[in-house]
C-alpha cells in the first residue's frame, strides 16, 4: 500500500512538475512585464546542454560543480533571452515571430543540439546529478514521506522561489511597478518607471529560470544529454502560465497537476488500466484552452486575465 498509485503519481508529479515550474515562473515574470517569450523551449534546451556540459567538464566535488552548472545554465539561457529582449523591446519586433525564431535558433534543431554534438555529450551518464534527499530522515514516513521528503534540492528550492516571486509580485513596490509595466506601460512611464529596463530585467530573469528548468532535465530528471530532451516542456510551461492565471502559487499547483497527468497515463497502464496515455498528455493543452476562453471576456478578464499590455511594444506617445 505504501507505493499505491496515488503516492507514485503524486511523487512523480512533483518530480516532473518541477522543471515546468521553474520555466513557467520565468515566463510569468516576463509576461507580467508585458513580454511574451515563445522561446522557452529553446532556452530550456540551452540550459540543459550547458548545465550538463559544465558537470562533465568541470573537475571537483559534486555540490559546487552542480551549483556552477546551474549558474552556467541560467546565464546561457538568459543570453538567449537577451536576443529576444533586444528584438522585441528595443527594436519593437513582433514578439510571436521573434520567440519562434529563438526556439528554432536555440532549440532541438539548433544551437543546443550543435553544442551537444560538438561537446560529444550524448550517451554519457552525468558525472554528478541532483539526487533525492532524505529530509529530516522522514523519507520513510508512509504516504507523505516519498512525496514530500524524498525529493532533490531543486524541488525544495522551487518552493522557496514560488514564495519569493509571489511576495515580490504582490507585496513589494518593485513588484507593483512590474505589474504596472505589464498592465499599462504609459501609466508606469508617466510616474518615472523605466519601462524598458523593467522589461529587459524580467525577460532575462525569465530566461535564467527557463535555463534552470532545462538543467533539471539533464541533471536530475534523466542525468544525461539527449538532443531535444525537454520534449515540448517549454510549450507546456507557456500554457501553464495561462492555466495559473499569471499567479505564482497557482503555477505551483498547475505544474504538479500537469506533472501528474504526464505520468498518470503510464502509471495506470502499468497497473492494467488501459486508457490511452495520449488522453492524459493532451489534457494540459485542452484545459489551457478552456481556461483561456474563460478569462477572455468580462469580469474574469479584468481580474484573472493576461497582463493588458502583453505582447504590445511600448512606444512613448509623442506628438
Amino acid at each position: 500500500m505504501n507505493h499505491s498509485i496515488i503516492v507514485v503519481t503524486a511523487a512523480s508529479a512533483l518530480f516532473y512538475g518541477t522543471p515546468l515550474l521553474y520555466a513557467a515562473l520565468g515566463e510569468l515574470l516576463a509576461e507580467r512585464s508585458g513580454v511574451l517569450n515563445l522561446g522557452v523551449e529553446g532556452m530550456m534546451l540551452v540550459g540543459a546542454v550547458t548545465g550538463f556540459w559544465t558537470v562533465q567538464k568541470m573537475p571537483g566535488p559534486g555540490t559546487p560543480v552542480l551549483l556552477v552548472a546551474l549558474l552556467v545554465a541560467a546565464l546561457a539561457a538568459a543570453a538567449m533571452a537577451l536576443i529576444h529582449a533586444f528584438l522585441v523591446i528595443t527594436l519593437r519586433a513582433n514578439q510571436t515571430v521573434s520567440g519562434l525564431a529563438l526556439t528554432i535558433f536555440a532549440g532541438a534543431t539548433g544551437l543546443s543540439t550543435y553544442l551537444g554534438s560538438q561537446g560529444k555529450l550524448g550517451g554519457q551518464p552525468a558525472h554528478h546529478a541532483f539526487r533525492a534527499l532524505d529530509v529530516f530522515g522522514l523519507a520513510d514516513v508512509p504516504i507523505l514521506g516519498p512525496i514530500l521528503f524524498h525529493q532533490n534540492a531543486l524541488v525544495y528550492a522551487s518552493w522557496v522561489l514560488v514564495a519569493i516571486v509571489s511576495w515580490y509580485l504582490f507585496r513589494t513596490r518593485p513588484g507593483l511597478e512590474l505589474r504596472a509595466v505589464g498592465e499599462s506601460p504609459d501609466a508606469a512611464d508617466a510616474v518615472g518607471i523605466n519601462v524598458t529596463r523593467a522589461r529587459y530585467v524580467h525577460t532575462l530573469l525569465g530566461g535564467a529560470l527557463a535555463g534552470i528548468g532545462g538543467a533539471f532535465f539533464s541533471l536530475a530528471l534523466s542525468p544525461s544529454w539527449l538532443a531535444g530532451m525537454t520534449a515540448g516542456a517549454g510549450w507546456i510551461a507557456i500554457a501553464l502560465v495561462i492555466f495559473a492565471f499569471w499567479r505564482p502559487a497557482l503555477t505551483l499547483v498547475g505544474a504538479y497537476f500537469f506533472g501528474a497527468l504526464s505520468s498518470l497515463g503510464f502509471n495506470l497502464q502499468s497497473r492494467g488500466v488501459h486508457l490511452p496515455p495520449e488522453l492524459f498528455a493532451a489534457l494540459p493543452y485542452a484545459l489551457t484552452i478552456v481556461v483561456l476562453v474563460a478569462v477572455s471576456t468580462g469580469w474574469t478578464k479584468r481580474r484573472l486575465g493576461a497582463p493588458a499590455a502583453l505582447g504590445i511594444p511600448y512606444v512613448r506617445e509623442e506628438r
Binding site: F170, R171, T172, R173, P174, G175, L176, E177, R179, A180, E183, S184, D186, A187, A188, D189, A190, V191, G192, I193, N194, G298, R302, R303, A308, R316, E318, R319
Partner: protein, 509 residues
C-alpha cells in the same frame, strides 16, 4: 504673487521645431509660486508642446528653463518628476487593474524603509488622508477601471499631491467634467495654491480662466503674446488675444424653411456603454431634410454611443432608428450605409480610416461593395485609383499621392478624406461627431462651410459636438444630452450658452 520676485518656474525663449512645423517660437512663461496660471490658446497654438517641454518629454531646440531661479534641464519625464513637476494628462495615465491607492503610490516610495515593502492597508490610509485634506473624495480601495471619469481625475491629482509635487500641470482638465465637478476641482486647486503649490492650467476655455486663474499667458501660433492678470482683463480681451481677431459668432444663414421629410428618426433608443451599463435611455430625435440638428453635452454623456447606435456599430437595447424612412436593424453597420447614411466618426484615424491602407483604398471604404468599384467580387483597382486622384484634386487634400498611407495625413487632410468619402454618395442623412476637434482655424472653417453646404443641398445633418460655439453657429435646433438622456431641445436662434450650460449640467429645465 511672490514678494521675492523669483518665479517658481520660468521659461525663456523656448523654441521647439518638428519637421515642417514650428510648434513653439520663443515662448516666454513665468509662473509664480502659489498661483494658478492659465496657459490659454486655441487648438494648435502650442500649449501641449510647451507642457511637454516642461515635463521633460520634449527637449527644446533653444531657450532655457529655470526653477526658483536655478537653471534646469530635463532629459526625461523622470527628471521633471524629481524636480517636483507633475502633469495630469488629458488622457489619464492610470493602471486600470490597480486600486486607486496603488495608482497613487506607484513609482514613489517616501522614506528608505518603505522602498521595498508594500503594505496595502497603510497606503490606503495614507491616500485617504491626503484625499480628505484636499477634498478629493475617492475610495482608495476601488479599482481604477471602476471609477467614474471625475474620480479618475482625482486619483491623478492625488498622485501629484502624494509625491508633494511643487508644480502641477493640468491639460484641459474640465473637458470631461460637469460644471459641478469642475467647481470641485477648482476648490481643490485653490487649497493647493494656498499651501504654496503652483498650478499651470492648460485650457482654451475663457470662462474657466476667469474663474480659477490668477494670471494667464496667451499663446497663439506657437508664440507667447504676454501674460495678463485676470483681475485686469475681460473675456473679450482674452478672446481677441487668443485668436488674433474680433471673434464674431456668425450664425449660419438659414435659407428657406426646412423640408417636411424626416430623414433620420430615433424613437425611444436605449443602449449599453462599453462597461455594460446603460449609456442611452429613451432617446428620441428627428432630423429633417435640409436641417442641422445639434447635440450638445459634456463628453461622456452618451454622445459617442448615440453616434455608434445610429451607425450600427453598437447594438441598441430598445427603440428604433430609421434613415430615410427605412427602419434599421440593431447592431448592423451595413444597413445604414445602404439606407443612405453618411457618418463622420469622432475617432478619425482608427475608425474613420484604416491607417495603413492608402488614401485610395480608404476612399473606397464605403463604396467598394458596388460597381463601379467592384465587379464580380473583384475590386477594380484602376477605377479606385482614378477616383482617388479626382477626389484629391477636388477636395484639395495635401498628400504625395493616392497611394500614400492614410496615417501620414494631417488631421485636417484626414477629415477631408473622410468627408469626401461620406458625401460622395449624396447621403440623405449625415451623422457628424466632433468634426473640427484638433483642426487648425483654416481647416475648421472649411469643414463648417462644407456642413452648411450639405444641409443646403437637402441632406439632414446630426451634428454632435462639445463646442457650443460651433453648435450655435451651425445648428437649427440643439438637443442637449445629460447622463444618456436628451434633457432638452432648443431652437438654436432662441438660446444661448448659459441656457445650454444649465441643461448640460443636468439642471433639467
Amino acid at each position: 504673487m511672490s514678494a521675492e520676485g523669483t518665479p517658481a518656474l520660468a521659461l525663456r525663449g523656448i523654441v521647439k521645431r518638428f519637421p515642417g512645423v514650428l510648434a513653439n517660437d520663443r515662448v516666454d512663461l513665468e509662473v509664480d509660486p502659489g498661483e494658478v496660471h492659465a496657459l490659454l490658446g486655441e487648438n494648435g497654438a502650442g500649449k501641449s508642446t510647451i507642457a511637454n517641454v516642461i515635463t521633460g518629454l520634449y527637449r527644446p531646440d533653444a531657450g532655457e528653463m529655470r526653477m526658483h531661479g536655478r537653471r534646469v534641464e530635463f532629459h526625461s519625464p523622470r527628471d521633471a518628476l524629481e524636480a517636483g513637476i507633475f502633469m495630469v494628462h488629458q488622457h489619464f495615465r492610470l493602471v486600470p487593474a490597480f486600486t486607486a491607492a496603488e495608482n497613487v503610490v506607484l513609482g514613489f516610495a517616501p522614506g528608505r524603509e518603505r522602498r521595498v515593502r508594500l503594505d496595502r492597508g497603510a497606503i490606503e490610509r495614507e491616500v485617504a488622508e491626503v484625499a480628505e485634506r484636499y477634498g478629493l473624495g475617492v475610495d482608495p480601495g476601488a479599482r481604477a477601471w471602476q471609477l467614474s471619469v471625475g474620480e479618475q481625475q482625482r486619483v491623478e491629482i492625488l498622485k501629484a499631491l502624494y509625491r508633494d509635487a511643487r508644480v502641477l500641470i493640468l491639460d484641459e482638465p474640465t473637458a470631461v467634467l460637469t460644471p459641478q465637478e469642475s467647481d470641485g476641482l477648482f476648490a481643490a486647486l485653490r487649497r493647493m495654491t494656498g499651501e504654496g503649490k503652483t498650478v499651470i492650467f492648460v485650457t482654451h476655455k475663457l470662462n474657466e480662466v476667469m474663474a480659477v486663474a490668477d494670471r494667464a499667458t496667451v499663446l497663439r501660433a506657437g508664440r507667447s503674446l504676454g501674460t495678463v492678470r485676470t483681475a485686469d482683463t475681460s473675456p473679450a480681451e482674452l478672446a481677441q488675444l487668443m485668436v488674433g481677431r474680433e471673434v464674431l459668432f456668425e450664425r449660419r444663414e438659414r435659407e428657406g424653411p426646412v423640408g417636411d421629410d424626416i430623414v433620420l428618426a430615433l424613437d425611444g433608443v436605449g443602449a449599453e456603454g462599453d462597461r455594460g451599463v446603460p449609456a442611452l435611455h429613451d432617446v428620441s430625435l428627428t432630423v429633417r431634410a435640409g436641417e442641422i440638428v445639434g447635440v450638445a453635452g459634456v463628453a461622456g454623456n452618451g454622445q459617442r454611443e448615440l453616434a455608434e447606435v445610429i451607425a450600427g456599430t453598437r447594438p441598441r437595447t430598445a427603440g428604433t432608428v430609421a434613415v430615410g424612412g427605412r427602419e434599421l436593424p440593431s447592431g448592423d453597420s451595413r444597413a445604414p450605409i445602404t439606407a443612405g447614411l453618411g457618418h463622420v466618426p469622432e475617432d478619425r484615424m482608427h475608425t474613420g480610416l484604416a491607417p495603413s491602407l492608402s488614401i485610395a483604398e480608404n476612399l473606397a471604404l464605403r463604396s467598394y461593395r458596388r460597381p463601379p468599384m467592384e465587379r464580380a467580387s473583384f475590386l477594380r483597382r484602376s477605377r479606385i485609383r482614378e477616383h482617388a486622384e479626382e477626389v484629391i484634386a477636388q477636395s484639395d487634400i495635401r498628400a504625395p499621392g493616392p497611394n500614400t498611407p492614410a496615417r501620414l495625413l494631417s488631421g485636417g487632410n484626414a477629415q477631408k478624406v473622410i468627408l469626401a468619402r461620406e458625401l460622395a454618395g449624396s447621403p440623405t442623412a449625415l451623422v457628424v461627431a466632433a468634426p473640427t476637434r484638433g483642426l487648425d482655424v483654416g481647416a475648421t472653417e472649411s469643414v463648417r462651410a462644407l456642413l452648411a453646404t450639405v444641409a443646403r443641398e437637402g441632406a439632414g445633418v446630426l451634428l454632435i459636438s462639445e463646442d457650443l460655439d460651433e453648435l450655435l453657429m451651425l445648428a437649427d435646433r440643439i438637443a442637449v444630452m445629460y447622463a444618456g438622456r436628451i434633457v432638452g431641445e432648443l431652437d438654436a436662434n432662441a438660446t444661448d450658452k448659459g441656457q445650454l450650460g444649465l441643461l448640460m449640467a443636468g439642471a433639467v429645465a
